[in-house]
C-alpha cells in the first residue's frame, strides 16, 4: 500500500448558487500514484481538483496534505490550456520559474528541457494563437512540469484532441510519470485513457457529485499496445462502464 499523500474525508462542496457539486466524498491519493477521476459531465471532477489546489475551500469535511511539503510543489494543467496570449511559448513555460524569482540564465536550461520533452522544439517563439489545440496543450503541460512538481493535477488535458494525438500524449505522460514518480490526479471522460494510464480509477456519479466506485488497475509499467488489446483491458473497461452507468442511475435522458 502506498503512503497517503492527500486525503479528502467526507468533503461536501455547495456553491453559492445552491448546486451541490460534491457530497460526502472521501478519497485518498497515494504518494506516487496515478489516479484517474472519471465521471459524467458536471459530477464535480474539476471541483475536486480545485479543492486540492486550494483554489476553493470545502463547505464541509476535511482536505489534508499528509505530506505537507508536496503542497508547495503542485502543478495544474487546466481544462483549456490557459496560456498567456501575449507571451511566446518559451515565455509561457518560463512563467512559473520567473514568478518564483529564478533568473533567466538559470531557467533557460529547464525551459528548453521541458520544451523538448513535450516536442515543441522549433516553436519557442510562436505565440499561442499560432499553435494547434494539441500543441497548446503540450505547452501547458510543459509549463506544469518545468517546476518539477511532486503533485500534478490534470483536468481533461486531452479532451479536445483527436485520438492519434491523444494516444501520443498519453504515452508521453505515462513515461514522464514512470520516470519521475510524481503523484498524478488525472481527470478524463475517456474510459480507455483511464484504464491505460492509471494505477487506480475513481468513478464518480452525478446528482449529487460523489464517488461510486474505485478500481485498482494491476498492470505493470511501462504499459504497451499489447495491454490495450488484452482481454484484461476489456474487463477493466467493462467494470468501469458498469460503474459509470450506476453513477448515472438517477438521471434519465429523454
Amino acid at each position: 500500500m502506498l503512503q497517503p499523500a492527500i486525503t479528502l474525508s467526507h468533503v461536501t462542496k455547495v456553491f453559492s448558487t445552491g448546486t451541490i457539486a460534491l457530497q460526502d466524498v472521501s478519497l485518498t491519493v497515494g504518494d506516487g500514484e496515478f489516479l484517474s477521476l472519471v465521471g459524467p459531465s458536471g459530477c464535480g471532477k474539476s471541483t475536486i481538483l480545485s479543492l486540492i489546489a486550494g483554489l476553493s475551500l470545502p463547505t464541509q469535511g476535511d482536505l489534508c496534505w499528509q505530506i505537507p511539503e508536496y503542497r508547495q510543489e503542485l502543478a495544474f494543467v487546466f481544462q483549456d490550456a490557459a496560456l498567456l496570449p501575449w507571451s511566446t511559448v518559451k515565455e509561457n513555460i518560463r512563467l512559473p520559474l520567473k514568478l518564483a524569482g529564478i533568473s533567466r540564465a538559470e531557467s533557460d536550461q529547464l525551459v528548453d528541457e521541458a520544451i523538448e520533452l513535450v516536442g515543441l522544439t522549433g516553436f519557442e517563439k510562436a505565440f499561442p494563437r499560432q499553435l494547434s489545440g494539441g500543441m497548446r496543450m503540450r505547452a501547458s503541460i510543459a509549463r506544469a512540469i518545468v517546476t518539477q512538481p511532486k503533485v500534478l493535477l490534470m483536468d481533461e488535458p486531452f479532451g479536445a484532441l483527436d485520438e492519434i494525438t491523444r494516444n501520443k500524449l498519453n504515452e508521453d505522460v505515462m513515461q514522464l510519470w514512470h520516470q519521475k514518480r510524481w503523484t498524478v490526479i488525472f481527470v478524463t471522460h475517456n474510459i480507455y485513457e483511464a484504464v491505460y494510464l492509471s494505477t487506480r480509477v475513481a468513478v464518480m456519479g452525478v446528482n449529487p457529485g460523489r464517488i461510486v466506485d474505485e478500481l485498482q488497475i494491476d498492470e505493470p509499467y511501462p504499459r504497451s499496445e499489447a495491454f490495450r488489446q488484452s482481454a484484461q483491458f476489456g474487463q477493466y473497461r467493462h467494470r468501469l462502464a458498469t460503474a459509470l452507468a450506476t453513477g448515472m442511475g438517477s438521471v434519465s435522458i429523454l
Binding site: 490557459a82 498567456l84 501575449w86 512563467l95 494563437r129
Partner: protein
Amino acid sequence: MSRSRPMFPARRSLIQRIVSPDVLAPLGVGVLFLLAWDAFVQISGLPPYLLPRPGLVLQTLIDNWNELFASLMVTLQITVVAFLAAAISGVGISVLFTVNKWIERSLFPYAVILQTTPLVAIAPLIVIWLKENTFGALVLCAWIAAFFPVVANTTLGLNSVDRNLNNLFKLYNTNPWQRLIYLRLPSALPYFLGGLRISGGLSLIGAVVAEFVAGTGGAKSGIAYQILISSYNLQIPKMFAALLMVTSLGILIFIGLSALSDRLLRDWHESAIKPES
C-alpha cells in the same frame, strides 16, 4: 518554415496597403464630395465669404501656410501634453481603482461627473483660475476631455482577466504586484489602447475648445485663434483652411494611434491579427 519565426504571415508592402479598398473607398467618397461641393458653389453662385470653393481653400492654405502651421504647432503642443497626461494618469487611476474596490466605488462617480460636465461650461473658470499660466489652463481643459476613456477602458481591462489565468497565478502564490505586472496590465493592454484612440481625438477637441474659450488673448495663439479671428474678419477661406488643418491633424492622430495599437497587439490579439489569405 524558418526555425526562429514559424508561421508569421508576410507583411504587406506599403504600396499594397495604399491601394487596398480600406484606403481607396473613403478616398473616392472624399473626391466625390469635393466635386459636388465645387459644383454646388459654382451653380448656386454663393460668394466665397459664405462658402469658398475647395480650390480657393487650398490656395489660401498654401498662401498662409507659415502662419497657420505655427498656430497648429501651438495647438499640437497642448494636445500632446494633455494626451500624455491623460494616458499616464488614466492608467494610474485605473490601477488605483483595482487596488481597492472602495477607491473605485468612491471616486468613479466623480470621474463620470468630470466627463459629463460640458467642457465649454467649466473651461472659462479654469482659464480664470490659472490666469498666469494659460498653457497650463489649456492643457488642463484638454486633459479633462481626454482622460475618461482611458480610465473607463483600462479599468474594464484590468477586471477582465481570464478566470483560468487568474487561478494559475493564485496557484503560483503570486503577490498582488506580480499579478498586476504579469497578468492584469497585459490583459488590459488592448482595452487601454482602445481608450487611447478615443482620447487622442478628444485631447485635440479639448485643446481647440479651450483655446476658443481663452479667446484671442495670449501671446502664442493656437489654431482655434486663427479660426476665431478669420471668422471675425469674414476671411472665410482662411477659416476653412484652418479647419482643414485641425481635421487633418485629428486624422493623423487617429491613424498614428491605430498603428501603434496594431503594432503592439499584432502578435496576439484578435483585433490586430491580419486574416490569412
